[in-house]
């Protein structure tokens, strides 16, 4: 299982901030996971449609679309940050 977290407007659009998913073995990178998640619902599809608007972290460190993901990882998708 991979723990997937969503924040800010991604969470609003998808309707949940956290889900446990078990994608097929060919989902081995952030980019392929993103594509697979986008097919889960219309809300997912819309929120995850434009990777350029998203940032990703794997196990709480920033990661690019080609970063590997595996069972047990915590993968988060969120908009560019606006703190401070």
């Amino acid at each position: 299982m991979i723990t997937v977290l969503y924040f800010a407007w991604l969470r609003d659009g998808i309707g949940t901030g956290r889900e446990e998913v078990a994608p097929p073995p060919e989902v081995a990178t952030v980019g392929t996971l993103l594509g697979w998640l986008a097919g889960r619902s219309a809300g997912h599809g819309k929120a995850l449609a434009d990777p350029a608007r998203l940032r990703c972290a794997v196990n709480q460190d920033y990661a690019g679309l080609d970063a590997p993901v595996k069972a047990g990882d915590e993968v988060a998708f969120f908009p560019p940050v606006t703190g401070g």
């Binding site: 972290a57 709480q60 940050v81 606006t82 703190g83 401070g84």
Partner: protein, 153 residues
């Protein structure tokens, strides 16, 4: 030292306890960020309140990494970063950064660096409430540019 908290902080008390009694400190720089009443990034309406969401765990991890990067770049005697989350109203404090060094330039530069990197790397998101409704604040290109100032090469 990094603190991520819902409750308010007292900048005066923080400054008083920061490096107290360490006579190697010649310079303390600080930055305090507050919620502005007139600040609506995306509309004409005044901000009635905002909610700061964050990613617990990653926030602390990223802030600690930013503190370590600042300590690597400048000879800092101490660093303190306090960032709040939750619902905040105009005039409320959001963030406090304190840096101490022997010399003023290191303290100033490190303080500005911490704010610039925090703005673009620490996982916080602002949800504004105005008379027109609620909206997620968009990241600003000027913040990216400010952070890029500190990138080598």
């Amino acid at each position: 030292m990094i603190r991520v908290q819902r409750e308010d902080f007292d900048p005066g008390a923080e400054m008083a306890s920061f490096c107290a009694g360490d006579a190697s400190v010649g310079a303390v720089a600080s930055f305090l960020g507050l919620v502005r009443a007139d600040k609506s990034a995306g509309g004409d309406s005044a901000v009635a309140a905002m909610t700061l969401e964050h990613y617990p765990g990653m926030t602390e991890r990223q802030l600690e990494a930013i503190e370590q990067e600042a300590r690597r770049r400048w000879p800092l005697i101490d660093v303190r970063v306090i960032h709040r989350y939750g619902r905040l109203e105009p005039g409320d404090r959001i963030v406090l950064v304190l840096t101490a060094s022997a010399h003023r330039q290191a303290a100033f530069d490190a303080c500005a660096f911490l704010m610039d990197w925090l703005k673009t790397k620490a996982p916080f998101w602002k949800l504004e409430e105005t008379a027109d409704g609620r909206r997620w604040v968009e990241a600003k290109a000027s913040d990216d540019a400010a952070a890029d100032r500190w990138t080598d090469g």
